[in-house]
């Protein structure tokens, strides 16, 4: 509690958003959302389809304007000067859901260069960043000369990610980056995102609707429900409230479910865990306790 708390890198205050105001299709998608992100955090935003996750993250770089409320980047309201909005978008990189559909250039290299070119960088710097971004997403340099339309789905998605990384944003916001990938592709994508956080020190906000995925990688979870933040905290804290989650129509990770079921049958296992490795530890500890060996 003592010591100076640094200003959060990104802060959302009292954010509400209503779509199609004044038409019969009016819809409140966000309702008084508050959150703050510190430098170096890895946050997962979880929630059902339609809970407002995508709406929320499109406010973070000013693509959507709040109906009420504020978004602060380094303590500055991003909407204060509209002329600065574009610059802010280079610092808060946002990767949309199914980003492969945004590819448009003749070659992969040119497509990745689109962001840096919009930043007005020199050609030599752009080339450096393109090759760096390809490295970061684990694609060979030779792919830069290919057409993005001849790549596989997983490759296209990495190219799209590289296109955002090439802007070297301070914060990376990813909207369901593993949606529609096969299990191997998901695994690779997760490895990649984890590396971006661990090795490149990027602050990451990851939107997902998979509890397992969120539990595995994030240091903090934000659970959304009907446009509001329903629960927030470290994974252990959030998944400790299994009943509240289930009432909200969300589930805890499969392993946690198994442990909860075991406990319900009278086995005194500690259920505060959410990965398979942890579960093994807890079960072993439990066996020791019960059998005394």
């Amino acid at each position: 509690m003592n010591g100076q708390k640094q200003t959060p890198i990104l802060e959302v205050r009292g954010l509400s958003h209503v779509y199609s105001v004044g038409t019969p299709f009016e819809q409140k998608a966000l309702d008084d959302v508050n959150l703050s992100v510190d430098k170096g955090e890895f946050i997962a935003i979880i929630g059902h389809t339609g809970s407002g996750k995508s709406t929320l993250i499109q406010h973070l770089n000013g693509l959507l304007r709040p109906t009420t409320g504020q978004v602060l980047f380094h303590g500055q309201d991003i909407f204060q000067k509209t002329s600065q909005l574009r610059k802010i978008r280079f610092q808060i990189g946002l990767l949309f859901q199914y980003p492969e559909y945004q590819l448009f250039e003749e070659t992969v290299g040119q497509d990745i260069a689109y962001g840096p070119a919009n930043m007005g960088l020199h050609n030599s710097e752009i080339t450096r960043r393109v090759s760096d971004a390809l490295d970061a997403v684990g694609l060979p340099q030779s792919i830069a000369e290919k057409s993005p339309f001849e790549l596989s789905g997983g490759q296209k998605r990495r190219v799209a990610l590289a296109g955002v990384l090439a802007m070297q944003p301070e914060i990376l916001v990813l909207d369901e980056p593993t949606a529609g990938l096969d299990p191997a592709g998901r695994e690779e994508m997760f490895e990649l995102i984890r590396d971006l956080h661990d090795k490149r020190d990027t602050t990451i906000l990851l939107v997902t609707h998979s509890m397992e995925d969120a539990a595995r990688v994030a240091s903090r979870l934000i659970v959304m429900r009907e446009g509001q933040i329903f629960l927030t905290g470290a994974p252990a804290q959030v998944f400790g409230q299994a009943e509240a989650l289930e009432r909200a129509g969300l589930t805890v990770p499969q392993v946690t479910k198994i442990l909860l079921a075991l406990r319900a049958r009278g086995i005194p296992v500690d259920t505060r865990c959410y990965t398979v490795e942890q579960a093994v530890q807890k079960l072993l500890a439990c066996r020791e306790e019960v059998l005394g060996c």
Partner: protein, 267 residues
């Protein structure tokens, strides 16, 4: 936002007007257009205004919504009104400056043009606001089906039209999404000269074309998988049926539209 375009959009509802057979509505809208162009007297226009805005009230459409549909055409309406106001020659001169003048006839003509266009748009949007695109094309197909005897591909045209209408919202949504995605990479669509702006559209148009072709291909496959083979032997899920409400609707229309035309002829 792109999504906020309302002219020609359907608003789901369950009012009396929503349940009227689309054929009735199409025919009556055409009758209304004829009446609007036949009439020019103030008395006739009062009757037509009561008729059209009465129907809007029955359909529970908000007046704001209907008037918002006028917005894209506001410039045209004002432009023609101003032209008529200043350039109509006439006997009752009220004001003149060089070649332009305002006459009583000019004022009347300008007022008529504004009233005619506003009622025209309000009346036709009444049709599109209360009739789903599917119903609309169904109705058109049935109305035009006598032309099938002349070997005109009415069914195919109607099918194409309903598919096109069906995909407009999808396309708008997709455009919105792609624009946002490119904006997130620093795209700037609103500044620079014309050439610059045209170039800025490439990152939107290419992905849009690619996905449209992919979607068309998938749709064709899906239709073939369900054995679609055109009009021959095809039955309908929704049978159109004229009922008592349609009769009432027609009688009301005859009273008002006929009344307006009679007034026009008498005065």
């Amino acid at each position: 936002m792109l999504r906020d375009i309302t002219l020609g959009q359907f608003f789901p509802g369950n009012t009396w007007m929503h349940r009227i057979d689309p054929r009735t509505k199409i025919v009556l809208v055409m009758a209304m257009i004829v009446a609007l162009f036949v009439c020019s007297h103030a008395a006739a226009y009062v009757v037509l205004t009561v008729y059209i805005f009465g129907l809007i009230a029955i359909s529970k459409l908000s007046l704001r919504m209907v008037l918002r549909g006028l917005k894209p055409l506001l410039v045209i309406i004002l432009f023609t009104a101003v032209l008529n106001l200043f350039l109509t020659p006439g006997d009752m001169l009220l004001w003149r400056a060089g070649p332009v003048s305002i006459t009583m006839e000019g004022i009347q003509k300008a007022a008529l043009i504004v009233a005619r266009l506003v009622l025209l748009i309000a009346g036709t949007s009444l049709l599109t606001y209360t009739t789903s695109p599917i119903q609309l094309t169904d109705g058109l197909e049935r109305l035009l089906s006598p032309l099938k005897k002349l070997h005109l591909p009415i069914h195919e045209l109607a099918m194409m039209m309903s598919l096109a209408l069906r995909f407009i919202p999808t396309l708008v949504e997709e455009t919105d999404k792609i624009m946002s995605a490119q904006r997130a990479r620093g795209a700037d669509f609103d500044s620079g000269n014309l050439l610059h702006r045209a170039k800025a559209l490439i990152p939107i148009l290419v992905p849009l074309f690619v996905s449209s072709f992919r979607r068309a291909d998938e749709l064709a496959t899906a239709m073939e998988c369900r054995l679609y083979r055109g009009d021959i032997g095809r039955t309908r899920m929704r049978q159109l049926q004229l009922g008592r409400d349609d009769a009432i609707c027609v009688i009301v229309a005859i009273l008002f539209l006929g009344g307006a035309i009679v007034l026009q002829i008498l005065t």
